[in-house]
Amino acid sequence: MASPPKHLMPSAIGRDPFPHEVVVEHQRERVIEAAIEVFAKRGYRGATVGNLVSTAKVGINSFYSIFQGKEDCFLAVHDQIAAEAREWMVAAMPAGAEWPQQATAVLGALLELIEQKPLAARIALVEVHTAGPAARSQHERCLDEVTVLLRGGREHSAVSDELPETLEYATVGGLAWLLQQRIASGEAAGITKLLPEVLEIVVEPYLGEAATAELIGRAVKSPGS
């Protein structure tokens, strides 16, 4: 009888059956998954490394071989949430669409994601403010990305010369606080219903009232399109 391939052979007793980097990556994923729950439910300030390792079921030495500590772990969690959100919103953008349709799709996708993943949303928009300057910088970079997207609206605006330079940052800051408030008060479920108001706040400065109303009408009729 032929022997199985070498990598499937049982390992010697006491030795790890998987390469070290595979084990570390798996543990990292487990910690990050657990950390989303721990940070969202206990808050960054209330969470301890002990909570993280016991929820993830990894040893404390393993934790410290992957992360420098609680803050480092939070930054990794936030980074992952931001990357997933970015991917989700890019996937929602209809290819070749104009800015108004793109903005509608991205904002709709953002609200949908908050509704589907309220714990991750809490970390990204609420707890991030409590986790120190590095976390705030990561948050700022996320807001900057949305700001860049909104600036595209100027090309569709009949009053682009009249718009204040800081319009996008202030709009994104206001929107972030609105969403943060809803999430902090446990109102993430049903947040997609805010889409018409969010569109009015974000899109109307560029398109004006009539075109925005038309856009909202279409978005409400065919959500997710």
């Binding site: 808050g43 960054y44 300030r45 209330g46 609420v126 403010h129 409590t130 120190g132 705030r136 700022e140 009053v159 009249e162 718009l163 204040p164 330079e165 800081t166 319009l167 940052y169 202030a170 709009t171 994104v172 800051g173 206001g174 929107l175 972030a176 606080w177 609105l178 943060q180 408030q181 902090a184 805010l194 018409p196 108001e197 009015e200 706040i201 109307e204 400065p205 009232e209």
Partner: protein, 154 residues
């Protein structure tokens, strides 16, 4: 900073900011010009006392639930100053119920960002833009810009 110490620092900063706005927005002018005056005074306050701004915004949010409640009180006060702008809307126009919330918190975030990044010297020049941002939903882009850039006669 402990919670009690932070609460004291917040209330002190909030009271000073409140007085500055009350004095700037006193009755006698129309609503758009009260907003412009309030913005100029609020921004001057931020430029002169960035630590107070940090306490009212970034530090408040970093405190968690209690700090967020305090910050929300500040947003609510500013919302109350903006709401009379609805009287300036054309009869057939409506604004979203959350617009004042978004405007007030957007401006606070903008100012907090400049303070956080040590760019307080840029703040005074921002006053016309901030006023225009706040007035635009009520007056329209062109009129908001005109009123926001009127010379300061105070």
């Amino acid at each position: 900073m402990g919670e009690n110490a932070f609460a004291g620092a917040f209330e002190s900063a909030y009271a000073r900011f409140h007085v500055v706005l009350l004095e700037a927005c006193e009755e006698g002018r129309d609503w758009p010009r009260r907003i412009v005056a309030g913005v100029r005074a609020g921004i001057a306050f931020a430029a002169a006392d960035p630590e107070a701004v940090r306490t009212l915004t970034t530090d408040a949010m970093a405190q968690g639930a209690e700090g967020i409640d305090r910050y929300e009180r500040l947003v609510a006060y500013l919302r109350g100053q903006l709401a009379p702008g609805r009287a300036h809307l054309p009869p057939d126009e409506q604004l979203p119920g959350v617009i004042e919330h978004a405007l007030a918190s957007g401006v606070l975030m903008l100012v907090a960002q400049r303070v956080d990044q040590g760019r307080t010297a840029e703040l005074p020049a921002l006053a016309p833009e901030v006023a225009q941002f706040l007035l635009t939903p009520y007056l329209g882009a062109v009129e908001a810009r005109r009123v926001a850039n009127e010379p300061d006669r105070s």
